[in-house]
Subunit: 145 residues, 2 copies
């Protein structure tokens, strides 16, 4: 098999309950590089002395960094390449610490036929290595057409 | 003045209409590094030959990368350090291209007193160098207490 042109899953081939996930350990390097890319040098993320005195007791990863893992699953797995990302709602439930292993999982929960396309909604959840939900939300996408 | 402990703006000192922003040119390096950090190697972001054949006519930045600029404003400026980021809703309105200069602006639109804290809602918008809105949404935060 030679896959010349990567192509995700079309709306017709997506079913309610379809799932995909991606797991990654969030490293100190990830957090510092993300801070540089985004400009978010909030001391909660990059100043251990400051962060130790907060309710979190130490540096935490940017919440939006883990949301990037959700985007990764949508863009590379389900529905995959060709997907148009319309929107994302997220709630940050628990902190993500440096060294935590985060699993982003997406699950198709709704297919809504529009005139020119099918809107697909996916439940999006990030859990840590102990199974705690750290982020939950809903993504809206148009699958590859 | 010596600022030993960075501290953002408390709910009492936040007023409806307060605004802050951050502007950054999104570089190719940002996009590729973000792809590595998040695992989102969707060809729309990292494969120019593939991307040229899409409706966008070339590589686009990850939408969630620009959302990181919103997080940066919330965490470093308004309300600033000590803010608890509860959630974010975003809609992706237009693509962000490599080399685009993105301004993330946040504006306080709601203060809701709860038993133990004040929930603050901010309108969050990203515009490009021509003034087009590329992302819009709402952030929910608890300001520093």
């Amino acid at each position: 098999v030679k896959t010349d042109k990567p192509m995700g899953i079309s709306a017709c081939d997506l079913n309610i309950g379809d799932r995909a996930s991606f797991t990654k350990t969030i490293s100190e390097s990830d957090v510092y590089t993300y801070a540089g890319i985004t400009g978010d040098l909030n001391p909660a993320h990059v100043n251990e002395e400051y962060a130790r005195a907060t309710q979190f007791g130490g540096r935490v990863a940017h919440g939006m960094l883990s949301v990037g893992l959700i985007s990764a699953v949508l863009g590379t797995k389900l529905p995959g390449p060709g997907t148009i990302y319309l929107g994302q709602d997220v709630a940050f439930k628990k902190p993500v610490r440096i060294g935590d292993t985060i699993t982003a999982e997406v699950e198709v929960v709704n297919k809504i036929d529009k005139t020119k396309y099918t809107l697909v909604e996916l439940k999006t959840i990030c859990t840590n290595q102990t199974g705690e939900v750290v982020i939950e939300g809903i993504a809206k996408v148009i699958p590859p057409q």
